[in-house]
């Protein structure tokens, strides 16, 4: 359980007991940990992006440090977060015509059609999403298909960093998902309850015992 390994993190040589994640190893020498850290293992926040080269391997891969185990001989370099000006500005409330949603996508993300299929985004994605295909589906107008591909995206922005055409694939995917939802999700049970409340069905008994054991009737609702 307590094998010791040596690895290099941002140029610092560290010796740690395994098993630990790269992120846990990174603060082992007392370096203040104030960035590139977030959910600490769940792999959902995308904050701890880093480049990793394993011992005796030539390839550099991008991973999330919180969910990747540190190994002996690893070289790790965290990728600083920078927020450049957002080139693709939109307000989802202003996208109102679902028939013309494809036009909105190409209008906001014109670079998407210029994808040169280098595969950089796919290699960069720590979640192994088919990013490039997602972009292609969005360009082709298969918006539901594109939305499905980006469903588990954690918005780490590694594909955006990797893209030479400045497509910002994860933001494209999120825009497609947002617009589809905002324009098409109309659950009948939610609508019913909202209508009820509009008609004054929000009278509550604040004693806390009104519904004990039975389904309570809220005002005039039904």
């Amino acid at each position: 359980m307590s094998d010791r390994i040596r690895l290099s993190v941002d140029g610092r040589m560290l010796e740690v007991a395994t098993p630990v994640s790269i992120l846990q190893a990174a603060s082992a020498d007392g370096t203040p940990l104030t960035a590139n850290v977030g959910c600490l293992g769940q792999g959902v926040c995308g904050a701890c992006r880093c480049m990793v080269r394993k011992q005796d391997e030539a390839d550099v891969t991008t991973v999330l440090a919180c969910e990747t185990l540190a190994e002996d001989g690893m070289q790790v370099s965290f990728i600083d977060y920078f927020i450049p000006d957002r080139p693709h500005v939109y307000d989802v409330a202003e996208i109102t015509d679902v028939w013309r949603l494809s036009n909105a996508v190409s209008g906001i993300f014109p670079e998407a059609a210029q994808c040169r299929h280098c595969g950089g985004c796919d290699r960069a994605c720590p979640k192994e999403l088919d990013v490039q295909r997602g972009v292609a589906l969005a360009v082709a107008g298969d918006l539901a298909g594109a939305a499905g591909i980006f469903d588990q995206c954690v918005m780490c922005n590694l594909c955006t960093l990797a893209c030479p055409e400045r497509i910002w694939p994860n933001h494209l995917g999120l825009m497609v998902r947002r617009a589809l939802t905002a324009l098409t999700l109309r659950p009948s049970d939610l609508i019913h309850r909202l209508n009820e409340l509009e008609r004054g069905g929000d009278v509550l008994d604040l004693s806390g015992t009104a519904s004990t054991g039975t389904a309570a009737v809220v005002s005039d609702g039904r």
Binding site: P19, V20, Q24, G30, T31, P32, L33, T34, A35, V37, G38, C39, L40, G41, Q42, G43, V44, C45, A47, L69, Y81, I83, R86, V89, Y90, D91, V92, D151, Q152, V154, M155, H171, L174, R177, R178, A179, L180, T181, A182, L185, R186, P187, S188, D189, L190, H192, R193, L194, L197, D202, L204, L206, T209, A210, S211, T212, A215, A216, V217, V218
Partner: protein, 546 residues
């Protein structure tokens, strides 16, 4: 980082326990010998003698508080007047402190109210407990359900300690909040089946009388946060300051909150933001690892906002009450504390002790389930693996009956199991309670207003909504309901506010009080990062940049 409990009691070795689990016949959940109150009194960590001390200073002097938190609440300020000399303030209508779901909702609502907003985040906007929330969000939209039932469940789940007016606001706003989220582009799962056509999928949470939890698979918080963050970042009226934790609030001569002192981690210097109103949305305290527990919380959950608000005079409540989520992962140790969603139990997974027996109704309120797990472990019926103790969450039986769940609904469970090197269809997860939520916090009204004029609060930093135990799905609802209300109220307050002089008058009063109590040489707060973050403000400011 923190590991889970060390072994000081007997327990059943993993291999033996696994054999018993696999050979045990299907069981009903057992009748409970103790009443819920007895179980909580005997085993819940809040009830431990070492978990409560009386605060020695401040507006809530005498109130019971967890001792680790009390150290921060009684702490001295990190800065004084001399630090503010020659700093030019940034001026805005509303300053939002905290970049999670509550902060983002407050920001969007303040913008809608016509305010310009500065949003200051300790890490990056979006880095928060919100993004980690898995289970879902409550809203009473089912035909058999009602606002009244949602209200009653929430009040009862909180042991009657919640504030009825706040709970009423919570449940009344819930359906509209879902519509608002959908309008921003947050997707919710629809129910399966051809006849369901267009109805939302609803799950049942522990301690509720109706299936009321709406979700996006088992990463609802991620779905909400990535949309909220995008909306905030694309709004030209919002200035996002990442890596800029608030280290003190600013007050005017009348004691109103008029801004904050931020620390810019990039430039290693202080910044001032003066605002017509401030929304504090700094979240909870899991990274304080209270009573030695591992936590499911985000790195930033260090109770900063509570310390800042208390020093300025805001009233607090229920600060001795915390939620320990029943199902944190216990093995392997490097993942300890990581969350396994209550959704797994909602779908029917059972908890099984080292003797192969169920020991609690798995959908009891969280504090009850947690107490039962701690009892099993304390009385030698736990399971031990590599020195780590816990009980089994029986995923193999659940997934044998419903194999599609792992792919469609329990994506995060599959992800966690994969990293633990476990095949959840064959091997159960070893689980142990994990510090999950701060039930109490800053006292607010239904607009999120604290007792300090100009200071609004929303989300986990507040108290009163969840009483002394929160139900699954009410946190994501809380942050949006009260985030929006606090943001809107802050914008109104800012529009009417006359500019005054900003300063640290409240810090001077606080220090006088600390001196009288003999606490002036004590620790400083907020701490901003957990102990293993190795952060010290003065050292960090003095160090040259790499």
């Amino acid at each position: 980082m923190m590991s889970t409990t060390s072994l000081s009691v007997s327990a059943v070795p993993y291999a033996d326990a696994l054999t018993r689990l696999r050979t045990a016949a299907a069981q009903a959940s057992p009748a409970e010998a103790l009443s819920r109150e007895e179980l909580l009194a005997a085993y819940h960590p809040d009830h431990n003698e070492d978990a409560r001390v009386a605060l020695r200073v401040g507006g809530n002097r005498g109130m019971l508080c967890h001792p680790t938190l009390a150290c921060l609440l009684e702490g001295n300020a990190l800065v004084g007047d001399v630090d503010l000399v020659a700093l030019d303030p940034v001026v805005t209508d509303v300053l939002v402190i905290g970049g999670g779901g509550a902060g983002a909702a407050a920001t969007l609502a303040a913008r809608r109210g016509g305010a310009d907003v500065v949003l200051a985040a300790k890490l990056r906007v979006g880095d928060s407990n919100t993004v980690m929330a898995e289970g879902g969000i409550q809203a009473a939209i089912g035909e058999e359900d009602s606002l009244q039932r949602h209200f009653d469940d929430t009040l009862k789940g909180g042991h009657g300690a919640g504030e009825p007016e706040l709970i009423a606001r919570l449940v009344r706003d819930a359906p509209e909040v879902i519509r608002w989220l959908i309008g921003l582009g947050v997707s919710f799962d629809l129910a399966e089946g051809p006849l369901a056509g267009g109805r939302l999928l609803r799950k049942r949470g522990g301690g509720t009388t109706a299936a009321r939890i709406l979700s996006h698979r088992d990463f609802t918080g991620l779905e909400m946060m990535r949309v909220l963050r995008e909306a905030v970042e694309l709004d030209r009226g919002v200035t996002v300051l990442n890596r800029a934790p608030a280290i003190e609030l600013l007050s005017d001569e009348r004691g109103r909150c008029v801004g904050a002192v931020l620390y810019d981690l990039e430039l290693r210097r202080l910044r001032l933001v003066c605002a017509g109103a401030v929304v504090l949305a700094t979240g909870g305290a899991g990274r304080l690892h209270l009573s030695g527990f591992a936590t499911s919380n985000h790195y930033g959950a260090t109770a900063d906002g509570l310390a800042l608000a208390y020093r300025m005079g805001a009233q607090l409540r229920d600060i001795d009450s915390f939620q320990y989520h029943p199902t944190g992962i216990a093995w392997p140790g490097h993942l300890a504390g990581g969350l396994i969603s209550e959704a797994v139990r909602s779908f029917g997974a059972t908890l099984v002790n080292g003797q192969g027996a169920r020991f609690i109704d798995e959908l009891s309120p969280r504090d009850v389930v947690t107490s039962a797990i701690l009892r099993e472990c304390a009385e030698g019926r736990g399971v031990v693996r590599d020195g780590l103790i816990g009980v089994f969450l029986d995923t193999p039986t659940l997934l044998a009956n419903r194999p599609a769940l792992l792919r469609e609904q329990l994506v995060s469970l599959g992800h966690l199991a994969h990293r633990a090197g476990i095949d959840p269809t064959r091997e159960p997860m070893l689980i142990y309670p994990t510090l999950h939520y701060q039930n109490g916090g800053v006292v607010i009204d239904t607009d999120g207003a604290s007792t300090v004029p100009g200071l609004y609060c929303a989300g986990e930093v507040t108290g009163g909504v969840h009483g002394r135990n929160r139900l699954m799905g009410n946190a994501l609802l809380d942050i949006i309901v009260f985030g929006r209300r606090a943001g809107a109220a802050a914008a109104r307050h800012a529009a009417a506010a006359e500019p005054g002089r900003f300063g640290l008058g409240h810090v001077q009063s606080w220090q006088r009080e600390l001196t009288c109590a003999g606490l002036i040489e004590g620790p400083r707060s907020p701490i901003l990062y957990p102990a293993y973050g190795h952060f010290d403000l003065r050292r960090h400011m003095a160090a040259s940049q790499d």
